[in-house]
């Protein structure tokens, strides 16, 4: 009420000094100023009061409505962000309608096209009025500028982890960022950077990072007219900054400007004199703002923002922030070496101030390098563990490390601790918007899923993945994991109506006694009955219902993953094709596009042609370290390098997906589909030998089921080196290579323990243990056994017999091989040999027919 009184008392004064219109203007301006001050001091209730007054004076003004919405939302403890989104979207729509209406009004009213360039780009490029003379420009689109509303919408999406949605709001803003005032622009950029980093979009991160450094840091802003202008406004500082010798952010710990910046912030008085461009920029900003706010009648609206630049992003802070962003970017692109250097630089900037972010990034770096012990040590050094949000991250990260160490149960403990941290975080009051984004329980749940899968608990793992699908549904890997859960559940007999739990066992009914004793071999490993379990797809994404794991679900998941992968492939291709192609390239296509020159490269993002990426990774897959040239070059190289990694990973994933698909289709008795999956697998370029082997085996089986034994033989005989000799389809190295496809930077700092380095290079024993697959000799045995089965059906019993002998010598415990061998013996009339094989096999269970009790052989 105080505020209302004071402001209302000031009305007559202003009325007295100015004309009627001006009076109203100044009243509203004063109210707006009051409200802004309340807002800044976080007195939201008072703020709303003032705004309500304002609203009566400016009925329907979208900006007033917007600020009311914001203030009320914060006053009420951010309880319903979804509703807030709705409110903001409505205001935005209204604002746009008003802008449109006023535009039309101007056009019809004054017979001229008064095109104002700010605002949405579409509108400016669609309507063209050639004739222009009279300025009807009382209309001013800044009035209907929706950039702040949009930003706030994106902020809320961001806190709700809806990165794609946030991105869709932010991208148009970013594309047209130049006309937006600096403070908002900076917020947009920082938010966008967080969004694209969170969605692992390296190339967009690089764009924004480059732009941020250019516009708010170093680099040349190509405004050629600097120097002759009074440097009073913050933005001009950017121009001035460009004249400062660059590379203050080119991170070399020994560059002199760093020392300068250290001095600068140790002595705040000398800040304005400092050579550090960022410090200077923001301290100037600050001072200018204070001056302006003191001289009240100078509060022209465009100056107002300058007075209220967010206090959290002053010079050093912003610099540190940018540096940490860069580290995150480098970690995302797995440019470990540079990340290490940049993180060092970041700690220098932070100068001993507690930065849990920096510490966690450091730990992540060591984690990424495979120095798990060191990573643990760094995490332990974090002092800020009383904070619930931080401790949930801390526990989660420890869980990750222990997972990598192969200690799944320890990691499970940490993950569940992290989850309980999260749930207590949600109970904390008052609720802040930040609380939503700090709740990472879905991320942690995903980790849990992986851990359960590693522990062989497919059902609970699937439940985790299902929960995490709320945020990860666009990741092909999630769907692959779900499919793996299904396969594991089926394999373990946990699926209703599927085969008996232990299918690696031959069950033999012993019937009768003495002379009349008969052995009836139950075909327990026959796969019939699985098709009966085909249920409806009774699992909705994100639903509360527990996923019912089944083979059809596995198939569905695999198709999802393949689809997503193909989508990302094509978009990946697009990003590789230089969308904002440099001009050297245009030259080759001389004149083709001359009428519509592609000026996008001017917008501030230099992206060089992708040729740079070529040769970054040599044929051995070793990383040639991206040379640290200029900042931009470094960032660009990282993007190219990361694109390469992603391409490789996608290739690997595609192999796994197709192999799984072929397997699932075989299990579901769809040999045609299995065959086509296996064939696509074999056609993949750069397919691992392991998966080539699987492709051939699956294709051969599918062909067998399709009664095409000749073609089936072709697939298997690829591995025949002699008439009856199979060569190993893959080697141990192939397995290891598959596990360590990613190149690891394994340089130890200052000659520290080399053990960790070698451990990082070679797959750890835990890693191998996780890789549960046939050994090369078992693969040979598989080929022998399948060849035997194939020849047996073809009536080539002698050959089949030879193969089966070799198969049994390599796979003495394989039930399939034993069964085939018995089958062949029986066909050859050697029932005695068949009997003895049956009795020798360790996986036979003899069941007395009457008692049905187990009787071991």
């Amino acid at each position: 009420m105080d505020s209302r009184d004071s402001s209302s008392s000031s009305v007559p004064n202003r009325d007295g000094t100015a004309g009627d219109d001006d009076g109203v203007l100044s009243v509203t301006a004063a109210l707006a100023k009051d409200a802004a001050l309340y807002f800044q001091s976080r007195k939201f209730a008072e703020c709303v009061d003032v705004l309500t007054q304002l609203k009566t004076k400016k009925e329907g003004d979208p900006k007033v409505l917007h600020n009311i919405a914001i203030a009320e939302f914060l006053r009420d403890g951010c309880s319903d962000p979804k509703k807030m989104l709705e409110v903001l979207n409505n205001i935005k729509k209204r604002s746009e309608e008003l802008a449109h209406a006023s535009e039309e009004q101007v056009e019809s009213g004054s017979d001229v096209g008064n095109k104002v360039t700010s605002g949405s780009k579409e509108s400016s490029s669609t309507t063209h009025q050639v004739s222009a003379s009279h300025s009807a420009s009382t209309i001013y689109t800044a009035e209907f500028d929706t950039s702040v509303i949009s930003l706030n919408i994106a902020v809320i999406w961001f806190h709700l982890h809806e990165y794609a949605k946030a991105l869709s709001v932010l991208e148009p803003l970013y594309k047209n960022i130049e006309p937006i005032d600096e403070t908002t622009a900076l917020h947009i950029c920082l938010l966008l950077l967080d969004v694209v980093l969170a969605s692992c979009d390296a190339s967009k991160s690089a764009d924004v990072l480059n732009y941020l450094e250019k516009a708010f840091g170093v680099g040349n802003v190509s405004q050629g007219d600097n120097g002759n202008i009074l440097l009073q406004q913050s933005t001009n500082l950017v121009g001035k900054l460009s004249s400062v010798p660059s590379s203050s952010l080119v991170s070399d710990a020994s560059t002199p400007d760093l020392a300068a910046s250290v001095n600068a912030s140790e002595n705040p008085l000398s800040r304005t004199l400092s050579e550090d461009p960022l410090d200077e920029m923001f301290s100037t900003l600050d001072i200018a703002g204070q001056n302006l706010s003191r001289s009240a009648d100078l509060t022209s609206p465009k100056e107002l923002p300058r007075t209220t630049v967010d206090r959290s992003i002053f010079g050093v802070d912003l610099k540190l922030k940018l540096q940490l962003y860069k580290v995150r970017f480098l970690l995302l692109t797995r440019n470990i070496k540079l990340a290490k250097r940049e993180v060092k630089h970041a700690t220098n900037i932070a100068r001993g101030r507690e930065s849990s972010t920096a510490l966690l990034l450091k730990a992540q770096l060591e984690y990424a390098r495979g120095n798990h012990r060191k990573a643990i040590k760094l995490l332990m050094a974090s002092t800020n563990r009383t904070d619930t949000a931080i401790s949930s991250m801390f526990n989660n990260n420890l869980g990750c490390i222990y997972y990598k160490l192969g200690k799944y149960h320890t990691s499970a403990v940490f993950f569940s601790k992290a989850l309980s941290n999260c749930s207590s975080l949600q109970k904390e009051k008052p609720l802040k918007l930040f609380t939503f984004s700090q709740d990472k329980s879905l991320h942690i749940t995903y980790n849990c899923g992986l851990q359960y899968l590693a522990c062989g608990k497919p059902i609970i793992a699937a439940r985790c993945f299902q929960k995490a699908s709320l945020i990860f549904y666009k990741r092909p890997l999630l769907w692959l994991r779900l499919a793996e859960c299904c396969l594991m559940a089926v394999e373990k007999g946990l699926v209703e109506g599927s085969r008996p739990p232990n299918r690696s066992e031959i069950r033999v009914d012993v019937i009768g006694k003495g002379r009349w004793r008969k052995l009836l071999i139950e075909d327990g490993i026959s796969r019939s009955g699985l098709v009966d379990s085909v249920g409806k797809d009774d699992w909705a994404l994100g639903g509360d219902e527990e996923p019912k794991l089944s083979l059809p679900l596995a198939r569905q998941c695999l198709y999802n993953a393949l689809h997503l992968l193909n989508c990302s492939d094509s978009s990946h291709l697009k990003s590789l094709l230089p969308s904002n192609s440099s001009l050297e390239e245009n030259e080759s296509s001389d004149g083709a596009s001359s009428k519509n020159p592609n000026h996008k490269s001017l917008v501030g993002i230099d992206s060089k042609p992708s040729t740079l990426s070529v040769g970054l990774v040599n044929s051995n897959g070793d990383l040639k370290e991206p040379k640290a040239g200029t900042n931009q070059e470094m960032i660009h190289n990282s993007v190219a390098y990361f694109a390469d990694i992603c391409r490789k990973e996608n290739q690997m994933m595609k192999q796994a997906l197709l192999a799984n698909l072929a397997y699932v289709e075989l299990e579901l008795e769809n040999p045609l589909k299995a065959l086509s999956a296996a064939r696509s697998l074999l056609e993949l370029p750069g397919c691992s030998r392991i998966y080539i082997f699987l492709g051939h085996v699956y294709a051969a089986e599918a062909l067998c089921l399709l009664n095409k034994p000749k073609e089936a033989v072709e697939h298997l005989s690829i591995y025949l080196s002699g008439p009856n000799k199979v060569e190993s389809p893959f080697s141990q190295e192939d397995c290891e290579q598959w596990l360590t496809e990613k190149p690891i930077d394994c340089e130890e700092p200052n000659g520290g323990g080399g053990g960790a380095a070698t451990a990082a290079k070679n797959p750890s024993p835990e890693g191998m243990q996780e890789f549960m697959f046939l050994k090369p000799e078992e693969a040979c045995g598989t080929l022998y056994a399948n060849l035997a089965a194939l020849y047996a059906t073809q009536g080539e019993l002698d050959r089949a017999h030879q193969f089966t002998t070799q198969a049994l010598s390599l796979l003495p415990n394989s039930t399939e091989a034993t069964m085939t061998a018995i089958y062949i013996d029986l066909l050859l009339g050697k029932s005695q040999e068949a009997l003895s094989k049956l009795k020798r096999c360790s996986h036979v269970r003899f069941l007395s027919s009457n008692l049905q009790s187990n009787k071991s052989s």
Binding site: N67, V130, S526
Partner: protein
Amino acid sequence: MGKKMLNFEEQCKILNLLKSSSEQKSIEEMLTEFFTNPKLRHFNVCYSLSLLLQDKMMLSSTERLVAFAILHRSYSSQKSAANPFISFLVNAACDEGAENYERAFILHLLGFGNSNSSKEFLKQSASEYIKKFDPSSQTFPQKEQLQKQYLEKAHPEPYACLLKSTAVKNVLADPDVPPGCDANSAEFDLEPGAKSKLGSGDRDEALSGLIANLSLEGLIPHWIRPLPPRFPVDEELVWLNPDNNHELQWDQGMCADTSRGAAVRDLIAKALRGPLAPNQQEQVLVELANDPKLVYHCGLTPRKLPELVESNPLIAVDVLIKLINSPEIAEYFTVLVNMDMSLHSMEVVNRLTTAVELPKEFVRTYITNCISSCENIKLVDKEKELLRCNFIFKIWHALHDVKVGPFFWLIFSCALGFVLTCRNCQLKREWKDFLNRKAFSLTNSVQIKA
């Protein structure tokens, strides 16, 4: 558990049937009785019986006859070729190792030779049939003959899986007798009341066990289908880092003074219509410089650019330089490229080339347009000529440091063509000197131009 072929009722039925075969009931009677149950699954029953028949020791002679009769009767309403067990029957009839009465019985069943008396022999019991059987009365036809008669019109093999269609019987005899003893000798049969000895067993027990456990599936060769490996967990675990907090932003534009830059907007509007006074021009430039964002709100659009260029080239240059980072700059350039060539437009382009880095594409297009308009206009007055000279010279310098590839020569030759018609002798001389310095081949350039 594999699928059992027979349900309990069927098992009892079969066991009873087999037991009663030794009685003095006629075969016909037994058959009728057997088929009273309509729920009987004929195929399963027949298949079980056929499996039992394959083992020559398992069933007694009378039981075998009855079993064969069932196999035949189950499908007797259809043509013989439709009987799924017809080849089994034919094979059994031709089995040299089998008893002759059995073979004869099957032939009778099939109605071979004497079709009219087909039913008569079933009026007797199985044991009677065996007893009364006269080996001399029966001739055994060749297998081919039987096959021709009963199988010829058989349906083509239905589709069956390769692996499964080759199944073999999954019952193995595993006589548990002391080593060295003949498992087939009757000494191991369990005598009722006698003390059981090692290796003895009860046939009936085995039979009922078998019948209870038979499954439809035989033994087939097994394919090893390796489970694909799990995808390695690499960078997949989510590492968490603290997020930056992003607060909701206050809209500072609320109730803002919308008159910002009104003066400039007015001046720009004026500037579109005619040259501004020097002090006005100065004002525009200063205000634009003071507020870098003002340029976006000064009321200029790409479509209005030509007028501004013609009236106030200096302001146009300034505005364009300020808009260089604007997303609309491409549009401005497009307009600039396509507007009529004039001294002012050249001036603007020229100044732009020195002030900012223009997209080469733009420069190139601009030059092409200029050249074509150069060629099209007649040399009316000295001013235009001078203008052209100047322009080419300027562009030449502008392009000096830029690699323009073939375009270089195009301009060059154009310039050359101009020089030849140039009346300004001094300029002509300068050009010629320049060309000489570059050791430029005339013929070459002309060729390229063509």
